[in-house]
């Protein structure tokens, strides 16, 4: 709103007050991971490196943390790359090429974008079993990437629609193929879109819990989300160490949050699914 109310500082104070619990949560995670004992938000013991022992030893029969960490990197990286490439290709076709059923295709993408994919998990479990992809990282990667496609196609179509087409026309007239036009001219021009979609897909896959939890069993295929979850269900939880695991797992996300707040806000305000 262009005109701020005269007492906008009071409003700001109220906003800060309601936002305090979120900040408190983050502070709790950092403190509990670092100290021996934390009462509320006050450290009641010395800093404790023992919380981080999961880094150099397997804890309670779990694999060393390097296994799920590597799996999570592969999972998030491949999913993000696949989503960005495959959605861009489809979005480019919908935005630029003429083919029968084009508006039907876009309608399908829109419906799927709104459709809550998690309700399909039971059937997906069954299909992966039949395909022999159950309990494999490949299987979860395929599923996760597919479920992000409607959003990705939708987002990228918006970016391609916005490009002026004269340059592409010129390249086509000069004899470039459609693929070369896409790769050399269109894609570099929508770099902000690629970056936004890539970041979103990366964050979403990094945090993904339900899919690996349902579709993976063997501990050698665990992702970080599953590794951390095994600590939550224990009857006696060593919160110091679990918080350290959580902090370790969330570090890339927290770093991105602290460094790129404005950038994240733009991505999530730009019509990206909530």
């Amino acid at each position: 709103m262009p005109l701020l109310p005269p007492r906008w500082r009071l409003v700001l104070l109220a906003l800060a007050a309601v936002s305090l619990p979120i900040a408190a949560g983050l502070v709790w995670l950092i403190l509990t991971g670092s100290f021996d004992r934390v009462h509320g938000l006050l450290p009641a013991g010395p800093p404790d490196a023992q919380n981080w022992r999961f880094l150099w030893e397997g804890v309670g029969g779990r694999p060393p943390v390097s296994t799920p960490l590597l799996n999570s990197f592969v999972f998030a990286g491949v999913v993000a790359a696949a989503v960005v490439l495959i959605s861009s290709m489809a979005a480019y076709a919908i935005s630029r090429l003429s083919f029968p059923g084009r508006s039907l295709y876009l309608g399908l993408v829109l419906v799927l974008h709104a459709f809550p994919a998690v309700s399909l998990i039971i059937a997906i479990f069954y299909i992966l079993r039949l395909l022999g992809l159950f309990d494999t990282l490949t299987g979860v990667i395929l599923v996760k990437a597919s479920l992000e496609l409607p959003l990705g196609i939708w987002l990228m179509k918006g970016f391609f629609d916005f490009l002026s087409w004269e340059m592409e026309m010129a390249a086509l007239v000069d004899g470039m193929s459609r693929w070369t036009v896409f790769w050399k001219i269109a894609l570099p021009l929508v770099r902000p879109g690629l970056l936004a979609l890539g970041t979103f897909a990366l964050l979403s896959a990094w945090g993904e819990f339900i899919l690996p939890f349902t579709l993976i069993v063997s501990s050698r295929n665990w992702t970080m989300a599953m590794y951390l979850q095994t600590f939550l269900g224990e009857s006696f939880t060593d919160f110091g160490m679990v918080a350290a695991v959580g902090l370790f797992y969330a570090t890339p996300v927290i770093a991105l949050f602290l460094l790129g707040q404005r950038y994240l806000l733009n991505i999530y305000s730009g019509g990206v699914k909530g």
């Binding site: 709103m1 005109l3 701020l4 109310p5 409003v11 906003l15 936002s19 408190a24 949560g25 983050l26 995670l29 509320g40 938000l41 009641a44 495959i86 959605s87 290709m89 076709a93 090429l97 003429s98 083919f99 309608g107 829109l110 419906v111 799927l112 709104a114 459709f115 809550p116 998690v118 309700s119 399909l120 039971i122 059937a123 997906i124 069954y126 395929l142 597919s146 479920l147 409607p150 196609i153 086509l172 459609r178 945090g207 819990f209 339900i210 989300a225 951390l228 939550l232 939880t237 679990v242 959580g246 969330a250 927290i254 949050f257 707040q261 404005r262 994240l264 806000l265 305000s269 909530g274």
Partner: protein, 297 residues
């Protein structure tokens, strides 16, 4: 046919994956719901018609689950939309620099991995002297077991509120400045401007956020699964989607009743598809599918 070679190549990977993991699963869910598929009969399920649906109707816990689902969706929705609206209105009334900071803080629960987010909730709701909530309230309890619903709704709400906040904020930004100046010239107070100018213009975004979040809440169970796993005790916080998931995919009744879970999921899928079609009307569909500018393939 050469004319359609390019669209085919560009669309093939996306279409293939969407078919495998969206379209076929929709059909599979419905198909499985008509079979007796379970751990024992996994490889060769038998067609049983509507037996699963009849079993659902006669399930003595169904009333409880429906009640839980209504409570979960209704109350969380109220929190999400109300808080989202409040955050959007309040943060639009302070200096931009501060507003962005506040909105960014509210993004944090959304971008944190759900398991880490739930871990934080578990830590904050522990007994004294560890849990911050027990400290602040002055009563030492494990708040997740003591008031599971409050924790579930707040945990979901803090994540969900940012969705409404962002949508409402951009809707407020889209209001022409003239309207605010006109209302100021007419002597309206800030509250009157919000009540008479802003809120009426937010009607569509509010409707959209409500519809969208109703659907996603109806099918979401991630935070409940992690926070209470449907307990404490018997079905205390089990909602429809969580029950479907557990019937089909976890071994908590011995033999996994895949078909029964699929029947519950199939109803969600049908609702999901119907509501998604309604969205096509909310989005201005015709305007979005204008013909492409270059017709050469």
């Amino acid at each position: 046919m050469k004319r359609y070679a390019a669209p085919f190549v560009f669309l093939f990977p996306a279409t293939f994956l969407i078919a495998c993991f969206f379209l076929i699963p929709v059909i599979t869910t419905v198909y499985l719901s008509f079979t007796d598929i379970s751990t024992v009969t996994f490889r060769n399920p038998r067609w049983v018609g509507l037996a699963n649906y009849q079993a659902l109707l006669s399930d003595p816990f169904m009333g409880r689950i429906l009640l839980n689902t209504t409570r979960y969706v209704g109350l969380t929705l109220l929190f999400n939309v109300g808080m989202g609206l409040a955050l959007a209105l309040l943060s639009s009334s302070v200096r931009q620099r501060w507003a962005d900071q506040i909105r960014a803080v509210w993004l944090l629960p959304r971008i944190l991995p759900p398991v880490v987010y739930v871990l934080i909730w578990q830590g904050l709701t522990r007994e004294a002297p560890f849990g911050l909530v027990s400290d602040v309230v002055g009563v030492s309890k494990n708040w997740i077991t003591a008031s599971p619903w409050t924790v579930i709704i707040l945990a979901n709400g803090l994540v969900g509120a940012s969705f409404g906040m962002l949508i409402f904020t951009s809707a407020i930004r889209a209001i022409p400045n003239d309207l605010f100046y006109a209302s100021a010239v007419d002597g309206a107070t800030a509250l009157q401007t919000v009540r008479r100018v802003v809120l009426p213009l937010l009607r569509w975004p509010i409707l959209f956020v409500t519809a969208y979040q109703t659907l996603s809440l109806l099918t979401s169970f991630e935070y409940i699964l992690l926070l209470t796993d449907g307990g404490p005790g018997f079905y205390t916080t089990t909602v429809w989607s969580l029950h479907a998931y557990k019937l089909a995919l976890s071994n908590y009744v011995g033999n996994v009743q895949f078909g029964l879970g699929a029947a519950m999921a199939a109803l969600l899928v049908v609702i999901g598809i119907l509501v998604s079609f309604v969205y096509l009307r909310i989005f201005n569909f015709k305007a979005l599918v204008g013909e492409p500018k270059i017709e050469v393939n």
